[in-house]
């Protein structure tokens, strides 16, 4: 067991750059706005949420424009993060042990790199869902250009993506905030503590530490 010096204890690591944080929040804020207005259109019991956007007609006008901002954010996010998101052998071991992760049995979770396999899978799911959202959304934005049958299938696809994205968002927010204290600050000022990095992303921590030593 390594003895933590006061120096390493208080050391902080930069996890996300300013640009990465901005892009993350463009995607995050627009996605929540899209989810709320979209669920309002999907469930009569939630129609009151259109009030948050200035009423039903305003929500209908704004929804596709939120989608445009979301789409641009997603494209940038995919471009800047994709090379870190391919699964390696370590990730496959992590996935095989995902049960221990869920049950907080940290000793039996294989060490993760900058992103664990769950985060990588989340990235890929959201990327695929974003494509489904954007393609079907364009159809629904300009319904007069398409036949009723096509639009019906687009409504179905758009909703299916909502269902997937909604569930993933709950998991993402839960794990990134209350479940793991010290995580959310990575998306606020961009930093994490040395201790947090060593615990959650040991391979990344080792890389960063080694590069600093060299």
């Amino acid at each position: 067991m390594t003895v933590a010096t006061s120096e390493t204890k208080s050391r902080i690591l930069l996890r996300f750059t300013f640009f990465e944080r901005i892009i993350h929040w463009v995607v995050g804020v627009t996605f929540v706005a899209l989810l709320m207005s979209g669920l309002a259109f999907s469930y009569p019991a939630l129609f009151w949420m259109t009030t948050l956007f200035g009423g039903g007609p305003a929500a209908r006008v704004l929804h596709p424009w939120f989608g445009v901002a979301f789409g641009i954010g997603m494209v940038v996010m995919i471009v800047i993060w994709i090379r870190d998101m391919f699964l390696d052998d370590g990730d496959r071991q992590w996935l095989a042990a995902v049960k221990h992760y869920a049950l907080r049995d940290a000793d039996r979770v294989p060490p993760a790199g900058k992103y664990n396999a769950g985060q990588k899978m989340f990235f890929w799911f959201q990327a695929v869902l974003a494509v489904v959202f954007l393609v079907s959304g364009v159809f629904l934005w300009f319904p007069e250009l398409f036949t009723a049958e096509i639009l019906g299938w687009m409504r179905l696809s758009h909703y299916l993506a909502t269902l997937g994205g909604g569930v993933l968002l709950v998991v993402h927010v839960y794990l990134g905030t209350v479940a793991y204290p010290g995580t959310a600050r990575a998306m606020v000022d961009g930093t994490v503590t040395d201790r947090w990095a060593r615990h959650h992303h040991p391979r990344w921590h080792e890389e960063r530490t080694r590069s600093e030593l060299l």
Partner: protein
């Protein structure tokens, strides 16, 4: 026969799919019956519709047809379509009175996400309530007859309302009132079905082989029915042979939304339960 506007269905409400008129004794259920064989193509009904509903003039130009306008619009709720079809060597005008058919099971109402933007009265009329319309045009998607029209400037959808204000006062719709040959009849749905049967017999006696009543079952029947002289040529009249109020993707969507409500709720509950079981993670040194 007074006719209160008793609500039968309201869009985007839990009971949208379940008619609620069982709660009150329903008044009469009306229907138009359009006998295409008696139409002389005068377009008086188009003018009457414009006048009664204050829809204003839409300039048009000759595009090689006797038809007045190319298509319905937010200001043109009724259009007599003159489809030119050759039958047994002769040119025929297969006329269609193109306007809302007021389906018993309205696809527009089922598709609408805005509470109260579309209502169906027990008298059979399906009416758009523009003050509740959010301009999403899902009704356009849901209508198997391509009737609702979107106005981009007001971002509202409109269509024939069967002159609901006249019907409420015990009058017939303006198009019925004005028709000089009585090609459009008005009365209770049962009376119109009986009249349609008589008209079919007359047409058969006149030598038509396949006259038919157009009252499609896929939308639960309509409150504007047609007597079609060439019942084997529905598509030539621009009448879909097998329209449905609940096409496959919409049926799938209803199921998925229910499933989605459970899954999304359970994901929130699941996160809460997990948090109560494990709490925030504490890192020990």
């Amino acid at each position: 026969m007074t006719d209160s506007l008793t609500i039968r269905r309201v869009s985007a409400s839990p009971g949208a799919l379940i008619p609620m008129d069982a709660l009150r004794s329903a008044g009469p259920t009306y229907s138009k019956l359009v006998d295409i064989s008696k139409c002389i193509g005068c377009k008086g009904c188009e003018v009457a519709c414009k006048e009664w509903n204050d829809l204003g003039v839409e300039p048009t130009a000759n595009f090689g047809s006797i038809q007045s306008h190319k298509d319905l619009s937010p200001k043109t709720w009724l259009l007599m379509r003159f489809n030119e079809v050759e039958i047994e060597g002769n040119l025929n005008w297969l006329i269609k009175k193109d306007a809302c058919l007021h389906c018993e099971e309205p696809g527009c109402l089922f598709a609408c996400p805005a509470p109260g933007a579309i209502v169906q009265y027990t008298n059979g009329i399906v009416d758009f309530n523009q003050e509740n319309c959010i301009g999403c045009q899902y009704c356009v998607t849901g209508c198997p007859f391509d009737i609702p029209r979107f106005d981009a400037s007001t971002r509202k959808v409109s269509k024939c309302n069967m002159c609901v204000d006249r019907v409420e006062s015990g009058l017939e719709p303006a198009c019925v009132k004005t028709c000089p040959t009585n090609a459009i009849s008005w009365g209770s749905k049962e009376d119109m079905l009986a009249l349609a049967d008589q008209k079919i017999e007359t047409l058969k006696a006149r030598g038509y082989d396949n006259p038919a009543v157009y009252n499609p079952a896929g939308v639960g029947g309509t409150h504007m029915m047609y007597v079609v002289p060439h019942g084997d040529r529905l598509e030539d009249y621009s009448l879909p042979a097998d329209p449905t109020a609940s096409p496959a993707p919409m049926t799938g969507l209803v199921f998925l939304k229910r499933l989605g409500a459970y899954l999304m709720s359970f994901s929130v509950i699941g996160a809460l339960v997990h948090f109560l079981a494990f709490g925030p993670e504490r890192l020990e040194e």
